[in-house]
């Protein structure tokens, strides 16, 4: 079958788009490799209106169930190729090919790594990316969080429930996070040491992580002994599918969209963290709003094409 709309990504943008498309009675398929996008791993969400506090995974599961109840279909897999063929787009995963009249790209962005030797080898052996998953295993231990943004501060606050000492290591001069999260971190007191203008230059360990070497010495030494290292240094957009479609990207490789979430290619819309909309302000509420607008634009196209 040829779907009215295929959405790539099941984060806040993708599933909000699916909700609206379902209500517009469009035949809609969501294709996603990993459920829930970044929201699912973000820990507790406390800045979404009308919801005082909710776990990120539960939030996304509710969004998924809401979309599925409207007849939206879900397919597992990572879309490797996308081609325009006549009036439809052909999207292929390793297992299957799907066709849609319109497409919304809501695949978010890729987690940045430090790209240091040993980082890959020691992943799961002291080096981690998911603090909500593996943070509780460091009860009474010393850990480091690398990153200077809001997510890293949320991570420190989460780890504060378990670890006995946390080093927050940031490249920049200051930590850029929501004041409410910074206040919470301050409440952890001496448990947290913030090392600004500092980078991890070496990850040392054989079978397990043993220590980090820092670019700037701390208490007279550039060696920092830690049991665990959590990396939360942001995301980069994935350019593979946008390039296949010939989409215009900004200087940071985010998809350029207009106020209706239209790209420069007809019938291709984009929403969420993959776009340049709202600049670096990437939130669940902005992603969901973009998803709703993108679905509405796809619906407008469907109605126009009837006339």
């Amino acid at each position: 079958m040829i779907y009215d709309l295929i959405i790539i990504g099941s984060g806040a943008a993708g599933l909000a788009a699916a909700l609206y498309a379902g209500r517009y009675k469009m035949t809609t398929l969501v294709i996603a490799g990993e459920f829930g996008g970044e929201t699912a791993t973000a820990g507790t969400i406390e800045n979404y209106p009308a919801i005082a506090s909710i776990d990120g995974y539960d939030f996304m599961k509710t969004m998924k169930d809401q979309a599925l109840s409207l007849g939206v279909k879900l397919a597992d897999g990572r879309v490797d190729s996308i081609q325009k063929e006549g009036s439809a787009f052909k999207l292929s995963t390793k297992e299957e090919t799907f066709e849609g009249k319109t497409v919304i790209l809501a695949f978010g962005s890729r987690r940045r790594h430090l790209n240091l030797p040993n980082e890959k080898e020691l992943t799961g052996k002291g080096v981690h990316y998911c603090w909500t998953c593996d943070g509780p295993l460091y009860g009474g231990k010393t850990v480091a969080m690398v990153g200077g943004g809001d997510s890293s501060v949320k991570g420190v606050n989460f780890l504060g429930e378990y670890a006995q000492k946390i080093y927050l290591i940031a490249k920049g001069k200051e930590i850029l996070a929501e004041p409410i999260n910074l206040d919470q971190m301050k409440k952890l007191g001496d448990k947290v040491e913030v090392l600004t203008e500092t980078e991890v230059t070496t990850i040392v360990g054989d079978k397990m992580l043993e220590k980090l070497v820092l670019s700037k010495s701390y208490q007279g030494s550039s060696d920092l002994k830690v049991d665990g290292l959590f990396i939360e240094i942001g995301f980069d957009p994935d350019t593979s599918l946008p390039k296949q479609l010939g989409l215009k990207l900004d200087e940071k490789n985010y998809i350029i969209v207009d106020n209706k979430m239209r790209t420069n290619v007809s019938r291709v819309f984009a929403a969420g963290d993959a776009t340049n909309h709202f600049g670096s302000f990437k939130q669940d509420i902005t992603a969901a709003a973009m998803g709703a607008v993108a679905a509405t634009s796809a619906y407008e196209y469907k109605n126009q094409s009837k006339t």
């Binding site: 829930g36 699912a40 791993t41 052996k125 002291g126 509780p136």
Partner: protein
């Protein structure tokens, strides 16, 4: 029915996704929370050689993370 043990932490999203997957396919499993259960944690490290969750033991085959494709193969479900 295969014998399945999943090693988890309560806040681990991939653990939740894996358990959801088992439920969808009517597969029963035993869950061990490795935050408080040190013996389970040692077992998990011994089996997987690492400390990240989830670790899933399907009849002795060890899956690290929620690898849906690998689990589908092991459980012979689509």
């Amino acid at each position: 029915m295969p014998n399945i043990t999943i090693y988890t932490t309560p806040s681990c999203v991939y653990c939740k996704s894996a358990k959801e997957f088992f439920k969808e396919h009517n597969v029963s499993y035993k869950e061990l929370d490795v935050v408080g259960d040190m013996r389970a944690r040692e077992d998990m490290i011994k089996k997987s050689g690492q400390l990240g969750v989830p670790v899933i033991d399907v009849d002795g085959s060890i899956v690290i993370g929620f690898d849906k494709r690998k689990l589908s193969e092991l459980l012979k479900v689509s």
